[in-house]
């Protein structure tokens, strides 16, 4: 009896939800689909275009992460009075800053520190 009351409670949007069988299965099926598609695209070389394939792989990966967060980790905007969503938002912000910042800075560094062929020739031909 308590269990059914509990799961009723869970089905709503309240805090410490442990999910239901249905929600776990939805999450699992979505995850399987979102895992199989990128592997299929890459292993079969379906699109024949690396850039598009990478873009789709990343998009599907991000979608699967959201599926996991919602269906397996049960993070909703209401869970723990919004603190879970708040902290994950903050973390994602920091990770995005670190990732884009590193890639941006290091890419520019590599571009500008590596002398091009012409530059080397120029220096060689100096008197």
């Amino acid at each position: 009896m308590t269990a059914s009351a509990h799961s009723n409670h869970e089905d709503g949007h309240h805090g410490e939800g442990h999910g239901s069988f249905k929600s776990y299965m939805i999450g699992f099926v979505l995850s399987v689909v979102l895992t199989v598609i990128p592997f299929y695209l890459v292993m079969g070389d379906i699109l024949g275009n690396a850039i598009w394939t990478v873009a789709i792989v990343f998009a599907l990966g991000a979608t699967q992460m959201i599926v996991h967060i919602y269906y397996f980790l049960h993070v909703t905007s209401q869970a723990e009075e919004g603190w879970l969503a708040m902290s994950i938002g903050f973390t994602v912000l920091l990770v995005v800053i670190v990732m884009t910042g590193s890639i941006w800075v290091m890419f520019n560094l590599q571009e500008n520190m590596m002398p091009g062929h012409e530059q080397i020739e120029q220096i060689r031909s100096l008197p």
Binding site: S20, F39, L73, E80, S87, T91, V95
Partner: protein, 211 residues
């Protein structure tokens, strides 16, 4: 007059216990929130490792590139092992909510076996790479690769050790309040590791083979 006062005191008492319950509840959520904050700090560690890999992952130093090394069919198997372990952990939590100790333990053991299978695949992969001469010393790409994937593997290993300890605690104490809290904390940890693995297989393996 006296009955009325008794009634109000009763009323007060009831309200008091209710309040106490509420306090307990908040204490409980405090643990989960604290553990969540730990997971987020772990997420930052992985974020920096991903950034390191993004910067160094193309510097092969005339050594092997991802396309030469990675075998995607094996990675697909590891991915599914971890995904299955996630759903079996979910079943364990559902059993726990029903108050079924035996079911909780059985699903936890199955989860642990999937986790061990994942670790076995990873050890197999690493020893295979090592055999090919693709050691962390070979290039910046391989250093950052081993650091990122190895850190994830160590997390799974500690998750497995935690799971064994939790099984012992469940065996000794049963489904107590504390044990339920521990099961929920490991649940978050376990699903979180699966989440990180999504990033690893998308970013390191699939994109690595392509570009």
């Amino acid at each position: 007059m006296s009955t009325e006062s008794a009634l109000t005191s009763e009323d007060f008492y009831v309200r008091e216990t209710h309040h106490d319950d509420d306090g307990e509840h908040h204490h409980e959520t405090g643990t989960m929130l604290g553990f969540w904050i730990y997971l987020m700090s772990d997420c930052l560690i992985f974020g920096t490792l991903f950034a390191t890999y993004a910067v160094l992952g193309r510097n092969y130093a005339a050594g092997p590139s991802p396309a030469d090394l990675f075998e995607l069919d094996l990675i697909l198997i590891s991915t599914f092992l971890l995904l299955f372990s996630s759903i079996t952990y979910g079943f364990s939590v559902l059993r726990m909510d029903m108050g079924d100790l035996k079911g909780t333990q059985i699903w936890l053991i199955i989860t642990g076996l999937f986790g061990a299978g994942f670790l076995y695949m990873e050890v197999l992969e690493f020893s295979h790479l090592w055999h090919l001469g693709a050691t962390p010393m070979a290039s910046a790409f391989l250093s950052s690769f081993y650091t990122l994937v190895g850190t994830h593997g160590l997390h799974v290993l500690s998750g497995c050790i935690w799971l064994i300890v939790l099984l012992a605690q469940l065996q000794i104490h049963g489904l107590t309040h504390e044990n339920k809290r521990r099961v929920m904390c490991l649940s978050m940890f376990w699903h979180f590791l699966d989440l990180i693995w999504i990033g690893v297989f998308s970013f390191v393996y699939l994109a690595g083979v392509l570009v």
